[in-house]
Symmetry: C2
């Protein structure tokens, strides 16, 4: 392990995570390194497969930095996949062309659940090596975000074996054998915590938990089967990185806006919101406890640049003026999409988005 990373030049994102005043609203995009960029597709073609890309430190470093070379984004996010942890548990992750992820082994009965265990973190060494490599390559330009899927979201894929329209298998197990579901989630939570801590040790400057499928749960089930295990992860996370700086923790539940009153008490610094949430109402609800991240509908990016700019301003206006007193903490906003950017997005529309967020958010602070 090395602690000899270059000093950070742009701390806007980290400051906003910690509810400190910034000159403008920082911006990054979920899945910002991805298929909407021709240079990503070129690297992906060289790598041969998605897992070939994700497991090769040089390729992962290359694609992580690609969007930063195009757009003045305020953070980088590790290029990887949310399903690396169950893959390391031995479930056999693959990505068929044109389909989503798929596991060779699904976890659907007592015997399969009994075999689950927190994997040896050495099997995920390629991820931690990528974190260190990317942090070095960034050379202090912007902070690096590490991430993991949430225990519930990992469980969805582990039980279904792949993506699902209705989550029939995972919900059948949950309602029929809640004891087995709790066992899966406990293993997942402890594995995710170790995984994120190892990313922090490798150089991650913030970490994000993607609860991509928390929103498919019923009220009651969400608190019991998703939120409780996100909490179990958070309780185990390191609070400072290899350079001694605070490592903010971001929790994003797609479709979780309806449960904001439950989520505001999580022991984390930032809550991510999708586009169904009203940022002004969310700000009033979370009060003094959290920074907010989000929440432009990624579909806005299909509209012409003027429409993109109009909708981006509407999101910034919805949050309202962030606090500007450098001596205290207060309400802060990190601009993002409400979900990953689509592969069909024209890159020039992203340029318009970034320009608008930076310039308009500066003007908001003067207003």
């Amino acid at each position: 392990m090395t602690t000899s990373f270059a000093p950070l030049q742009n701390d806007c994102f980290l400051r906003a995570c910690l509810r400190q005043a910034t000159d403008y609203t920082p911006l990054w995009l979920m899945r910002q390194a991805g298929r909407y960029l021709p240079e990503y597709k070129a690297t992906r073609a060289k790598a041969g497969s998605f897992m070939g890309l994700a497991t090769n430190v040089d390729y992962a470093t290359e694609v992580t930095l690609q969007p930063l070379d195009r757009f003045p984004l305020d953070a980088a996010i590790l290029f990887s996949d949310i399903l690396t942890v169950p893959d390391a548990m031995g479930l056999g992750l693959s990505f068929a062309e044109g389909e989503g992820p798929r596991f060779a082994k699904a976890v659907r009965d007592e015997a399969a659940v009994a075999q689950l265990a927190v994997p040896d973190m050495d099997r995920l060494r390629y991820v931690f090596d990528a974190v260190t490599s990317i942090r070095r390559a960034l050379n202090g330009r912007v902070p690096l975000i590490g991430f993991s899927g949430s225990p519930w979201t990992l469980a969805c894929y582990m039980v279904e074996g792949k993506g699902s329209d209705d989550y029939r298998l995972v919900k059948s197990l949950m309602y029929s054998r809640p004891d087995l579901m709790h066992r899966i989630l406990a293993v997942n939570a402890d594995a995710v915590a170790q995984y994120l801590n190892a990313q922090i040790d490798a150089g991650a400057q913030a970490v994000m938990i993607f609860d991509s499928w928390g929103g498919v749960l019923a009220d009651g089930a969400f608190q019991q089967f998703s939120l409780a295990y996100t909490r179990r992860v958070l309780a185990q996370l390191k609070r400072t990185g290899v350079d001694g700086q605070a490592v903010p923790r971001i929790v994003f539940t797609k479709g979780g806006g309806i449960w904001l009153a439950d989520m505001k008490n999580l022991d984390c610094e930032v809550l991510g919101l999708d586009w169904t949430a009203n940022l002004g109402q969310a700000r009033a609800m979370v009060g003094d406890s959290k920074a907010l991240q989000g929440n432009l509908d990624p579909n806005v990016l299909f509209a012409p640049p003027e429409a993109v700019a109009r909708e981006a301003r509407a999101v910034l206006d919805s949050f309202g003026k962030p606090h500007t007193d450098r001596g205290t903490t207060g309400p802060t906003h990190i601009f993002n999409l409400g979900h990953g950017i689509s592969q069909h997005t024209p890159p020039e529309h992203v340029a318009a988005l970034v320009e608008t967020v930076h310039s308009y958010s500066r003007s908001l602070r003067l207003g």
Copy 2:
């Protein structure tokens, strides 16, 4: 038109819609006439195709009554499809085997939008005939609910041409050319209002607007492109049926729980909720204005009967004790799923659900 329908024997559902006290919580299930029933599949096979089933008055009557012969449900719902109205506009609806609905013509440009108009209701005569036929066949057992898709939900299918994962085409049009989207929605709203009024004239005793895709919209866009046009429909609806009785209006936006503060001011009697909503919190929020309908996760029905009963009780407990004073109106609950019942549901689990809702809701009122 006839007004000589048999007197209603079970008014529990209609009373609950109007916030009047009932001895137990009435229950019906979205898509209760459907593929989980072997007798439905048999009729469907005779009809040859889904549209062959929906457009034949005798078949539509037969399948509407099938679930009532199995289970003591408290309402019947017209067997039809939400997309009959755009079909009558000339878009050419079909259902490919194993896929969802599909339109021969999609509405994606100025020329296609300019051609849209409220269809001659005579093209939907088969629906109104089915309503009258079903009402006669029910012979007063339970009330009959008519329905339509919401203007926004119809627009999603009209622009996409079929179902969608990401609503890219319809949202692209909405953000790029809001003027065209408003024109589509205005035509849809006026068509839906005429369509529901004709169902009321044919004998429907309650009507429901299914805003199945309202929940995919961003905050702000939902209010502007979905809710405003649901409001336009509601403003045009008849308030009494052919027998002079009040016709309650139900609005259900899948994923709309986050916007309950906006929806509580709608001019309708009942709001439907999906399983992400907490009924107790929703009851506190809507206050004196609305009955609530929902909201069991349909996936619960894959679990064994004991688990189904446990989760059904949890939904009833979540709403709490309804008011019991026959002299006034007050909080009432209509039990339903949070979305349509799955084709994979074992019918005997539905029997357990119905039995539990009826018996436990009686005991709740005594507690």
